[in-house]
C-alpha cells in the first residue's frame, strides 16, 4: 500500500521548516536509510532518510518551499508495482488530520488534570524511642556509629563498608575501629582517594544486590561524587519504573570541624535534603546516631547520613537493647516548653539546647525539637509545637540561602499562619566561606547568643 512521507520534526520544538532540497526524484527507488531530502530549520540543515523501501511515487511539496508544517505529507512512497495515480487518491485528504493527532495528545495530563497532591505525612508520633525502664549506658557518638555498623554487618552478609582509610588505618576519625578485624578485608575495604569512582562502584554494587556503606572522609569530598549520588543513586528507582534502586548509605562527617578553613567546613544538609529519592538524616545524640544508622543500613533507598566531627567524642545515654533502631521522619522533643519552638538538627542542637537553658533562667520556656531526619521531615511535630507556642526559631549551621530553616518557615507559614504571633527567624551560619582565623570562624558559625537574641525578638522581650 502507498504510504505518505511526512515532514519530520527535527527537534522537540520544531513546528515547521523549509524543504530545502529533494535528493530523489519521482520514480526513484529508495531503501531504508537512503537520504531523500534536506530539511532546513532556523537552527540547522538536516538530512532526512527514508524509513521504508519503495518507489517515490509523487513529490507533493516542491523543494524550496518554506513553512512546511511538521507531519504534513511531502511525498508518496509506493510499493513495488503500484502506480502513482492510485496513490494520489489515498494521499490527498486524511493525512494532515491523522498526522496532527499525536501533537494534540501530548500536552494533555500536565495542563488539564490537576497535579495530584503528594501524600500527606503521617500524623505526629510522640512515642518514646525506647520503653521506660530500659537500661542505659553512656556511649560516644563514635562508638555508637561503630556498633551500629557492626551489628548490621553481623546480621546481613551483603552489608559492607568502603572508603578511604576505613580498614587498616581503622578510620580517619576511628569510626570503623575494629571492623576490619571482625569482618575481614572482603567487607571492610580501603579505597584509593577517588571519591567519584568509588561512589559509582558502590552504586553499581547496590544495583547488583549488595548494601554498601560508603564512608566519605568528610562530606566536603563527596562533592567529587555528587553526580553518582544524585543522578545514579537517587533517581534510578524512578527512572526504572521501580525495577531497581540503590539500597545504600553514604556517611561521614559534615559541617565545620575546627580551624580547617573554607574547603573543609560546609554543611550539606540542605543540598541533599533538596533531592527526591534520597533520604537524609543528621543525628545529634549517640542514641540517634546508632538507631538511625541501623535504620539507614536496612533502608531500601540511598541514605545520606550526616555526622559531625565535633560530636564524635560526645557521650550520651544509649539504650542497652539487642536491636535498637530509630525510624526516619520522626522528630524528637528534647525539651518541652510553652513560649517558643526551637527547631534544629545535628550540631545545631548544641546551640538550641544551650540557648534553651539560658532562656529558662530568664523565664522563657523554649520547646526544643531535633528533626533528626531531613528527608522525610516530621512536619507534624513542628506544626503541633508551633500551634502551642505560636513562635518559632530554627537553628542550623549551614548557609542562609536555601536553608532547611527557610523551608520550615514556608511550611509553617502555609499550614500554621494563623497560629504565628511573630515571623519565624532562621539562625544559620553566615553567608561567607568559612574563614580560618579563630575569631572570624567563631563569627561565621551560628552562636547560642544569636539564638537567644532571635527568641527574644519573636517573644518581644
Amino acid at each position: 500500500m502507498a504510504t505518505e512521507i511526512l515532514m519530520p520534526a527535527l527537534s522537540p520544538t520544531m513546528e515547521e521548516g523549509t524543504l530545502a532540497k529533494w535528493m530523489v526524484s519521482e520514480g526513484d527507488t529508495v531503501a531504508s536509510g537512503d537520504i531523500i531530502a534536506e530539511i532546513e530549520t532556523d537552527k540547522a540543515t538536516m538530512e532526512f532518510e527514508a524509513v521504508d523501501e519503495g518507489v517515490i511515487g509523487k513529490i507533493l511539496v516542491a523543494e524550496g518551499t518554506e513553512n512546511v508544517k511538521v507531519n504534513s505529507a511531502i511525498a508518496v512512497l509506493l510499493e513495488e508495482g503500484e502506480s502513482a495515480d492510485s496513490a494520489a487518491a489515498t494521499s490527498s485528504e486524511p493525512a494532515p488530520q491523522e498526522a496532527s493527532e499525536p501533537a494534540a495528545e501530548t500536552p494533555a495530563p500536565a495542563a488539564e488534570a490537576a497535579v495530584p497532591a503528594a501524600p500527606i505525612s503521617p500524623a505526629y508520633d510522640s512515642t518514646p524511642d525506647w520503653p521506660e525502664g530500659t537500661e542505659l549506658k553512656q556511649q560516644t557518638v563514635r562508638e555508637a556509629l561503630r556498633d551500629a555498623m557492626a551489628e548490621e554487618m553481623r546480621g546481613d552478609d551483603t552489608v559492607f563498608l568502603m572508603g578511604e582509610e576505613v580498614a587498616e588505618y581503622q578510620g580517619a576519625y576511628k569510626i570503623s575501629q575494629g571492623l576490619l578485624d571482625e569482618f575481614g578485608a572482603k567487607r571492610v575495604i580501603d579505597t584509593p582517594i577517588t571519591e567519584h569512582g568509588f561512589a559509582g562502584i558502590a552504586v553499581g554494587a547496590s544495583f547488583g544486590g549488595l548494601r554498601p556503606i560508603v564512608e566519605f572522609m568528610t562530606f566536603n569530598f563527596a562533592m567529587q561524587a555528587i553526580d553518582q549520588i544524585i543522578n545514579s543513586a537517587a533517581k534510578t528507582l524512578y527512572m526504572s519504573g521501580g525495577q531497581m534502586g540503590a539500597p545504600m548509605v553514604f556517611r561521614g562527617p559534615n559541617g565545620a570541624a575546627a580551624r580547617v578553613g573554607a574547603q573543609h567546613s560546609q554543611d550539606y544538609a540542605a543540598w541533599y535534603a533538596h533531592i527526591p529519592g534520597l533520604k537524609v538524616v543528621m543525628p545529634f545524640s549517640a542514641s540517634d546516631a546508632k538507631g538511625l544508622l541501623k535504620s539507614a543500613i536496612r533502608d531500601d533507598n540511598p541514605v545520606i547520613f550526616l555526622e559531625n566531627e565535633i560530636l564524635y567524642g560526645r557521650s550520651f545515654d544509649v539504650p542497652v537493647l539487642d536491636d535498637f533502631t530509630v525510624p526516619f521522619g520522626k522528630a524528637r522533643i528534647w525539651r518541652e516548653g510553652s513560649d517558643v519552638t526551637l527547631v534544629s538538627f545535628g550540631i545545631g542542637m548544641h546551640y538550641a539546647l544551650e540557648a534553651a537553658d539560658k532562656l529558662a533562667e530568664e523565664g522563657i520556656s523554649a520547646e526544643v525539637i531535633d528533626l533528626r531526619s531531613l528527608r522525610p521531615i516530621d512536619y507534624e511535630t513542628v506544626l503541633a509545637s508551633v500551634q502551642k507556642t505560636n513562635r518559632c526559631v530554627t537553628v542550623e549551621e549551614g548557609f542562609p540561602v536555601g536553608a532547611i530553616g527557610n523551608h520550615l518557615s514556608a511550611v509553617i507559614m502555609e499550614r500554621a499562619f494563623d497560629y504565628l504571633d511573630a515571623p519565624v527567624i532562621n539562625c544559620t551560619g553566615k553567608d561567607v566561606p568559612m574563614p580560618y582565623a579563630a575569631n572570624l570562624e567563631k563569627l561565621a558559625l551560628v552562636t547560642t547568643d544569636e539564638v537567644i537574641a532571635a527568641v527574644k525578638k519573636v517573644t518581644y522581650r
Binding site: 519530520p8 498526522a99 551483603t158 577517588t194 569512582g197 561512589a199 559509582g200 534502586g245
Partner: protein, 329 residues
C-alpha cells in the same frame, strides 16, 4: 601485558550467522522506526540512534552467558534489543507510555530490565563506567562467576571517573569488560581533536589491564574478541578492555545535522563497511541462505518493528498517580 589487534575469527554455523543478521537488522529497523516516530512528534526529547554500530552489541551478546550483565550510555536501544528485551516495551518507553520498560518515566536514555540484566541506560557521559565495575564488584563478592559488559564511547573515555574505575577494577580484579565503542565522534568532536593518542585500547596499560582493538563493523571479529575477554574475566584475571572501532551513520542525536563530517565519509562507510551488508553477502556467497530466506527475515523484522510502533502508539500514557510512585522503595 601486550595490547594487540586481533584477526581471529571463530568457526560459525550458517544458523548462527543468520541469527546475527536478523539481530542486527532488528536494531537497524527499530532505530529507523524510532527516528520516524520522533519526526512525527511521538518520541520527544533526546533520541540517540545506534544505526551503524549494530555489530558491536550483537557480536558481544553472542559471547555472553545467561546472567552476565550489561549497561551503557544514553545510546542504548541497540543494547537492549541485543540483550533480548522486548521491542514493544522499548518502543513504548520511547513514546513515554505506561507499557514502556520504565512505565514511561525514564525515556530513551533511562531504561532498565532486571530480568534481562540490563542496568541502563545512563544519561551522564561516563557515569555508567564505575557503576558497571560496581556490578562486577557485587558479582565477585557474591561469587556468581558473572561478567559485566560496561559499554561507553570514545567521548566518555576521556572522563576522569573512567580512570578511577580502571584503577579500582585492576586492584580488585573485578570481572568487568570495558567496551569502548569508538564511533569516532564525541557528539561533534572528532577523535583526533579530543584525544591525545589515537588508541583507546592501550589506556589500561598504566593499570595493568590488557586491551585490544577490534573491527566493530565485523560481527564475527567482535564475537571472537568478546569470547576472549569473557574467558579472561571469568577466570578471575580481572578487567579487560575492548576498543571496538565502529561508526555511527546518523547524527549524535535526532537534532544533530552532523556538519562536522562529510557526506562522502558516511556514504563510504555505509557502502564499503556496513556490518549488515557484510553478513548478508557472506550468507549469499557462501550459499548459507537464499535471497528468499533473507527476504523472509526482512519481512519478519519489519513486522516486529511495525508492531512495536503500533504497540507504542496504542499504549496509554502513565496514569497521573504515577507521578508519585517509585520515588522510594
Amino acid at each position: 601485558m601486550a595490547a594487540r589487534k586481533t584477526k581471529a575469527k571463530p568457526n560459525i554455523s550458517a544458523q548462527e550467522l543468520t541469527q546475527y543478521y536478523e539481530d542486527m537488522l532488528l536494531i537497524r529497523r527499530f532505530e529507523e522506526k524510532a527516528g520516524q516516530l520522533y519526526g512525527m512528534g511521538l518520541i520527544g526529547g533526546f533520541c540517540h540512534l545506534y544505526i551503524g554500530q549494530e555489530a558491536v552489541v550483537v557480536g558481544l551478546e553472542a559471547a555472553a552467558e545467561e546472567g552476565d550483565k550489561r549497561l551503557t550510555s544514553y545510546r542504548d536501544h541497540g543494547h537492549m534489543l541485543a540483550a533480548g528485551m522486548d521491542p514493544n516495551g522499548v518502543m513504548a518507553e520511547l513514546t513515554g507510555r505506561i507499557d514502556g520498560y520504565s512505565k514511561g518515566k525514564g525515556g530513551s536514555m533511562h531504561m532498565f530490565s532486571k530480568e534481562k540484566h540490563f542496568y541502563g541506560g545512563h544519561g551522564i557521559v561516563g557515569a555508567q563506567v564505575p557503576i558497571g565495575a560496581g556490578l562486577a564488584f557485587a558479582d565477585k563478592y557474591l561469587e556468581n562467576n558473572r561478567v559485566t559488559f560496561t559499554y561507553f564511547g570514545d567521548g566518555a573515555a576521556n572522563q576522569g571517573q573512567v580512570y578511577e574505575t580502571f584503577n579500582m577494577a585492576a586492584i580488585w580484579d573485578l570481572p568487568v569488560i570495558f567496551v569502548i565503542e569508538n564511533n569516532q565522534y564525541a557528539m561533534g568532536t572528532a577523535q583526533k581533536r579530543s584525544t591525545s593518542s589515537p588508541d583507546f585500547y592501550v589506556r589500561g596499560e598504566a593499570f595493568g589491564i590488557p586491551g585490544e582493538a577490534v573491527d566493530g563493523m565485523d560481527v564475527l571479529a567482535v564475537k571472537a574478541a568478546g569470547q576472549k575477554a569473557v574467558a579472561h574475566c571469568r577466570s578471575g584475571k580481572g578487567p579487560y578492555i575492548l576498543e571496538v572501532k565502529t561508526y555511527r551513520y546518523r547524527g549524535h542525536s535526532m537534532s544533530d545535522p552532523a556538519k562536522y563530517r562529510t557526506r562522502e565519509e558516511v556514504q563510504k562507510m555505509r557502502q564499503e563497511r556496513d556490518s549488515i551488508e557484510t553478513v548478508r553477502s557472506m550468507l549469499l556467497t557462501g550459499k548459507h541462505a537464499s535471497e528468499e530466506d533473507l527476504k523472509a527475515i526482512d519481512k519478519k523484522v519489519k513486522e516486529i518493528v511495525n508492531a512495536s510502533a503500533e504497540f507504542a502508539k496504542d499504549s496509554p500514557e502513565p496514569a497521573v498517580e504515577e507521578l508519585w510512585t517509585d520515588i522510594y522503595a
